[in-house]
Amino acid sequence: MLIASLPAGAVAASSDYARAREAYQAHDPVLARALYEGLVAAGVDHPDLFYNLGTACLAAGELGCAAHNLEQALRRDSRAEDIRGNLALVHAEVALRVPDRMTSAERRGRLDRVLGWVSMDGVATFFLIAEILAMAALAWLLVARARRRRRGIAVVAVVVLCSLALALGLALWAARRELDVVSHGIVLVERGRLHAAADPHSEVRAPVHAGLRVVVLGQEGGWLRVRLANGGQGWVAREAVGILD
């Protein structure tokens, strides 16, 4: 993972990265977490960093922080088994600590589940290949029509390849929208509240717990308007939710 040319800031980042690892191995996950968070604040964006930070939070017992950073890592490396394993551990620990949690809000959407298993790079690659082949088939059809030759095979090829390209294109568009347009967040606090209004004294609609995935609909002052997986909507304090980017 060494980079050939690193700016001066990156040298300090690598030093903190090594120190964080040493701290974790010395059973000091709190220091490790602080060092990793410093790297994130400095702008380092790597799935390994988020994974290590999430693991350090898990070791420190900070389930919300662990879930948030592991989800960040999963966004960048969706096929990694170690990330999935630690994330499952976080959810299990939350289930132990918060038995009265709202389980109906924990289920992930269908598209979200699919994105967890499908590689975006693979979809993009297949779409590009299918598009090129579809264009080639269309060109073949044009030539066959111009030369008054038999076009049956060309038509079949065009239909098949264009359908495949269209399907892959739609899948890519939906995945991009879900990942890049819709704003998702993870609840950071172990036990929080979903309010009816952006007011701590307003009616509490439902409890929220660490690791719960929410869709962020808007912001007003220090409050976020969110939607849960079970459709419930309400307001949560800004500091209680970590945005996924």
Binding site: V44, Y51, P99, T125, L128, E131, I132, A139, L172, E203
Partner: protein, 623 residues
Amino acid sequence: MWRNWYGCWLGLGVLATLLCLSASEAWAKRPLAFTLEVTPSAGDEGEQFTATVHLELSGVAGPERYVRPDFWDFHVIDSTTRQTTDSVIEDGRQRLRYVEVHSYLLRPKTTGRLRIGPAKVVVGSGEFETRPAWLRVGPTSAALGGADTPPVAAADQAAADPTAAGERAPGFVPPATQHGEDVFLHVVTTTSSPVVGEQVTVTWLLYARAEVLQVAFRPLDDLDADVHRLFAPASHLEYFDVQIGRVPYRTAVVAKVAVFPRTAGPLFVPPLVAEVVTPGVPMDRPRLIESPSLPLSVAPLPATSRADFDPAYVGEVSLRARLDRTELRADEALTLHLRVTMKGAIQRTTIPELFIEGFRVRAPADYREELEVVDGQVRGQRDYEYWMTPLSEKVTEVPAIELPFFDPGLGRYRVAASDPLAVSIHPLPVAQRAVPEPGLLAAAPLRAGDTIATQARRRLDRRAWYRWAIAMPPLMLVVFAVGLTWQRRRHRNSPALRRQRHQRARAAALRRARLHLEEADGSSFYGALSRAVLDYVEASTDLSLGAATRSVMRDQLETKFRGPELVGQLLSFLDHCDRCRFAQAPRTRAEKIGDHEWAERLLDALEAGELAPLGPHRQGGAP
């Protein structure tokens, strides 16, 4: 001159006569009696006065119009009217009289010398009025602070709530004066400006002058608040006697609820609707009465700095905590029993989340709850059980658990706290300490490596070159299609393509001639043959030869083809075909085949470009 005077006197006389006649008519309709009397004529501000208007008319007909007196300085508490007709003997003769009496129960608004305006009546063509009445109203004895003014005893205060001996109506306020209603519903509340979550007790009372034979209440409409029923009559209403003004009523509490507003702002308690049957009201068509809607102005809770405040905790809260064990090992757990007692809507509260230093706390999934109503106040208690494990052997106590709440009685926040609980944590044996946390043991380790890249590899679809890669194939296809179309148009008019078209057309024409040959249709055969040659010549030379004469054809063809002999052969063949079409003696099949072959050779020669004259074409046969 005397005529003018005479006329003037005559007119005056007529006028006077008319006046007298009208006056006599009015006099005939004049009330026999029309008076206004007020009793008593003097009193104090708290007394009630009765004004009576007495009207007597001869005959049986009443007045055309009656205008009651002006009671500007008085409240009209009640009014009654009585009309009768009776007969009297006057001067030996029986006469009929119409009597109308209006009575008004009054309460003065102010003190001093107060006036009651005259009553007016229109009878026939005349209008009559009474004299006004004057009263002297002094201040009440209590306002004067007289020595003999008795203090208001507690018993008298309690008597303000007429139902105090039975189901009480907290916050009772007597109803305002009613307008002759014999049955009505009155509503009272403990406060009209509560804070969010504060209990507001709303009580409905039924007032009736007549006997209530049957009453049924409709359910209250929903409102944006938690409602807890405090009272509903089981089988019968408990009535108490009361007076409104001087009018006797009987009253009973019919419903009482505790309302806990959820949000700040205006809140309207909907009216209570009842179906009442009194004497004179059919049982199957009860009378509908409803109480007025009750407006409340709900104030928000004041700001607090405590982030752990649950807005449902409004009232009075107390905590009690105990542990199921006070000595345990570092790897064991203990249970914290927490009892929350509250005056207020405890059913709205959520499970308190506890952060106890030195312990890992797992909140309970459920709880035991008990609710009761004591003296009109909703109360409740909940028992929670928290499962806790110590994080360190150095922990010596469970600190006091605090629960902030808002006390509406004091108008400020308070904190309910339990007592700290002592606990003793025994350390684990040495060998056991090496066993790490099971959760950490299961976690995957950190990723290897002591350095990290500043930025990870970007997703493929987010790279700039990918967008170009997506856009290029359709663009290239469009360019390809445009180029192909242009090339096809260009090629369509090329000499080679034209030559191909001519050859195809020529071959098709000769095939058609062959068909006619096979069908033994000599006329059509030679027609098709000459048509084939002529079409080919026209297509290859862009000449229109259909209607031209032979000499015009010769001139035009010699400009296109080199070799005038060939042109001559062509024209001779055309003439030969024309003759054979209409010949009396048809040609033989062999001769026709020979003509067909000769036509092919002729066309080949025309196409070859390097033209050489063919052998002379013999008249009537192939060369």
